[in-house]
Amino acid sequence: MVHWSAEEKQLINSVWGKVNVEECGAEALARLLIVYPWTQRFFSNFGNLSSPTAIVGNPKVRAHGKKVLTSFGEAIKNLDNIKATYSKLSELHCDKLHVDPENFRLLGDILVIVLAAHFGRDFTPACQFAWQKLVGVVAHALARKYH
């Protein structure tokens, strides 16, 4: 089980409290598709992904980004049992979606950068530590049911 200090929980929750889940989620997913274009292979039915502008404006990307980040919110509500929170999603990503778990780590790093861009100096090194730990734990939980 992952141990979270009181400070880490506080840092995660205080940032999360100020996050616009729809905007941040959309931005993180769009950046994944732009910065690591091979990830587009998982979204071939999303329509126009032909340029950064198209990706950023794509309503399916926005909607899915919101979905993904909303699920992060579940992890944050259940920091002491992230493994259970992501158990079904892990099976889904392996059995149905066939996503290489490396991509979860890429998305996690991108999310940290998106938060840094939004919060500026308020995204302190201590915040970054807590959030990199969180995205790492989420990525690991999503990879856990792979076989």
Binding site: I113, A116, H118, F119, F123, P125, A126
Partner: protein
């Protein structure tokens, strides 16, 4: 592969941080030590407290080297040759520490991360990007993010060339 547009964006970013390069360097290192404590193992001789002269000095060196790479983006191998030797043969920094995109180091919170081996150099790149994002905010657009990520990957690859 860095396109002409990528190179232009990277040069623009460099222009934007030129006035606070030293600060950016120090902050990158501080974030790296705070976020990935294993990277501190390469600096047992440093005072790693916030604001330390050694961190400022080393951060300045790192950013200057990156700046040199930006100026010589068409010939990174040559521009970074000395540094590649240094990091591979003298310092023997695990290249995971330079990583852009995907690196997360070995978490002490769960021994069985099951991740592919990362390179330490890559962790520096993630922290550098966070610093750029903090400073540039909205100006750290997806296109700029992409160009910088590619650039840092290219730099890390050159620095890791001589490892074996």
């Amino acid at each position: 592969m860095l396109t002409a547009e990528d190179k232009k964006l990277i040069q623009q970013v460099w222009g934007k941080i030129s006035s606070c390069q030293e600060e950016a360097g120090a902050e990158t290192l501080e974030r790296m030590f705070a976020t990935y404590p294993q990277t501190k193992t390469y600096f047992p001789h440093f005072d790693l407290h916030h604001g330390s002269d050694q961190i400022r000095g080393h951060g300045k060196k790192v950013v200057a080297a990156l700046g040199n790479a930006v100026k010589n983006v068409d010939n990174l191998s040559q521009a970074l040759s000395e540094l590649s030797n240094l990091h591979a043969y003298n310092l023997r920094v695990d290249p995971v520490n330079f990583k852009a995109g995907g690196g997360q180091g070995t978490g002490t919170w769960d021994g069985s991360m099951g991740a592919k081996p990362c390179f330490t150099l890559q962790l520096l790149a993630q922290c550098f990007q966070v610093v750029l994002a903090v400073h540039l905010g909205k100006d750290y657009t997806p296109e700029v993010h992409s160009a910088v990520d590619k650039f840092m990957s290219a730099v890390a690859a050159v620095l890791a060339e001589k490892y074996r």
